[in-house]
């Protein structure tokens, strides 16, 4: 239902002093060809800087693809704006959610769900497992804790009733006691609403419940399959011998 046709995202490389190769082109997403199937749960993992967030942003239309095309429900959406993609049914939880001034969780939830009805907003809170009603009127500003803002981010994504939901490291900053319920919530959304779910995560809890595990490295999918098959590759990566250091700022090389 969501098809990536050989997509590439490249940027102009910085000067050599900054670790670039001197005015060259860097392919952050280096040709991904993949079809996500309707209603499946995908866990996308891979080292820091491997291109997970970049890929998610290409799907949401936050960055335009340099090459290739994206099909959604058979339609070519490569030229769609963020707004158009949102309206078509794609929703994205940012890895680093925006913080506002003077905008509350209630405001975001109303925008996302298209209703200001108290009863419906409360029903949404229940659906995403937020028990504290006072949370609704919290300003989404710089005072929120890292975990709080991630919960809000996740709730606004679910409130869209998306066909495809992409969660970018939804568990960052989330306390130990909430990870389990969060995994269950996303599984329940998948089961009850048939949501095609893409979770970017390093957390084993998400990898374990996924229908498909995808490993991305150097801007390419290097694995598709179950968790068991992914494990050897993942442990290889953790000692950083999977790919040769090519750049001075390759985060992976310092691990």
């Amino acid at each position: 239902m969501l098809e990536l046709k050989n997509i590439v995202f490249s940027v102009e490389d910085g000067p050599q002093e900054n670790g670039g190769n001197g005015g060259g082109i860097r392919r952050i997403i280096d040709g991904i060809d993949y079809a996500f199937r309707k209603g499946k749960f995908y866990a996308i993992t891979g080292p820091n800087g491997s291109g997970k967030t970049t890929l998610a942003k290409l799907i949401m239309g936050i960055n335009p693809v340099t090459e290739g095309s994206i099909l959604f429900g058979g339609k070519n959406i490569t030229g769609y704006s963020i707004t158009d993609r949102a309206k078509a049914g794609i929703s994205y939880s940012f890895q680093q959610p925006a913080r506002f001034k003077g905008i509350t969780f209630r405001d975001l939830l109303s925008i996302a769900s298209g209703t200001e009805e108290e009863m419906q907003l409360l029903a949404l809170l229940r659906r995403v497992g937020i028990c504290s009603l006072s949370f609704l009127d919290k300003p989404v500003d710089s005072k929120l804790s890292g975990g709080e803002i991630k919960k809000i981010e996740l709730a606004t994504t679910i409130a869209r009733n998306p066909k495809v939901a992409i969660y970018d490291e939804p568990d960052t900053g989330i306390d130990l006691w909430t990870i389990g319920p969060m995994v269950n919530l996303l599984k329940r959304e998948q089961a009850e609403h048939g949501t095609t779910t893409l979770v970017v995560s390093h957390n084993r809890a998400f990898l374990e419940v996924a229908d498909v595990v995808l490993i991305i490295n150097g801007g390419r999918f290097v694995y598709e399959g179950d968790l068991k098959g992914a494990l050897p590759l993942l442990s290889d990566m953790s000692i950083c011998n999977y790919k040769a250091c090519v750049r001075i700022d390759d985060v992976g090389c310092f691990r």
């Binding site: 949102a86 925006a98 001034k101 003077g102 298209g114």
Partner: protein
């Protein structure tokens, strides 16, 4: 007595549908239009109708005074001087505001000086909105000044808003804070077209344990210009903070100068200032929730000025 324009202006600047409850004084085109006093709130005119003195009895709680000003006479520059004496331990809200309806090519303006004496342990909330409208092309200017003296343990909140249509504004706010007093000032200004707005603020923290917080939110559209100057001067053990944010849209220009002066070893003064376009991550987030670019911009500004 109130015509349709008056009603519209009153609604915008003072959230009033018709005449208010409680004490009020409505000034139109430089003259008194209506007044009501209460058992605890006295309103008297100064000589020559230059302004009013509002006296609030000590211990008056949960009362409000509305003192809106309406201008709809071309070529008029209304100058007014109002004094507020707020008695000890009272707790009141004062709603001021000026609405200009400009129907012709001549300039219209209002200059108001509001002086406050906030008594010991008194609490006051002062809300002031400025707005201009009308088909006329005459320049609309508003130059409000406030001067406030807070006695020991007094608590004052000022909300100053300029919502639109004002071509030129020159604002000045001054305050002197006594021991243990608290002052919170929030200023919100939106300018567009070729409008100009300047705000000068000077707060002196004179008493021990006094606290001041000055927040400014500016939205500067098109070719408009806004400048913001703020000085906190600490003369005792105290705490003061300035927070000023400006959003530029189009060719808007802004100069923001926060200044902190400490003349006491236990003074604690801080400031945060930012000028910039609407943050991209905020726009992306709202668009990913289905809003168009324009809707997202409006929503962010609405929140920012709330």
């Amino acid at each position: 007595m109130l015509d349709a324009f008056d009603k519209e202006l009153l609604k915008t600047v003072a959230d009033l549908e018709g005449l208010p409850k409680g004490a009020y004084n409505i000034r139109k085109n430089g003259r008194l239009l209506a007044r009501e006093v209460s058992a605890n709130i006295r309103i008297e005119s100064l000589d020559d109708n230059r302004g009013i003195v509002v006296t609030i009895k000590p211990g008056t709680v949960n009362e409000s005074v509305h003192i809106p000003v309406i201008l709809s006479q071309a070529g008029l520059n209304d100058v007014v001087y109002n004094r507020f004496i707020i008695g000890e331990k009272s707790d009141v809200t004062i709603i001021a505001g000026c609405g200009i309806h400009c129907g012709g090519p001549d300039p219209e303006g209002h200059e108001g000086l509001h002086e406050f004496e906030v008594g010991r342990k008194a609490k006051v909330r002062y809300v002031e909105k400025h707005y201009a409208t009308g088909p006329g092309r005459g320049k609309r200017s508003l130059n409000p000044s406030t001067r406030m003296v807070l006695a020991e343990g007094a608590h004052a909140e000022m909300e100053l808003t300029q919502i639109g249509g004002v071509d030129e504004a020159n604002r000045s706010n001054e305050a002197v804070l006594g021991p243990g007093s608290v002052l919170l000032v929030t200023e919100r200004v939106m300018t567009e077209g070729s409008q100009r707005a300047v705000s000068r603020n000077s707060l002196v923290l004179e008493g021990n344990d006094s606290r001041a917080n000055l927040v400014s939110r500016s939205v500067i559209k098109d070719d408009s210009v806004q400048d913001f100057f703020a000085t906190l001067e600490a003369r005792a053990r105290c705490f003061g903070h300035i927070e000023c944010d400006a959003i530029l849209i189009g060719n808007g220009r802004n100069e923001t100068i926060p200044s902190l002066k400490a003349f006491h070893p236990e003074a604690e003064l801080t400031h945060e200032a930012s000028i910039g376009k609407i943050a991209n991550d905020q726009l992306m987030k709202l668009m990913s929730l289905g809003l168009s670019y324009e809707e997202a911009v409006n929503r962010i500004i609405q929140g920012f000025l709330r």
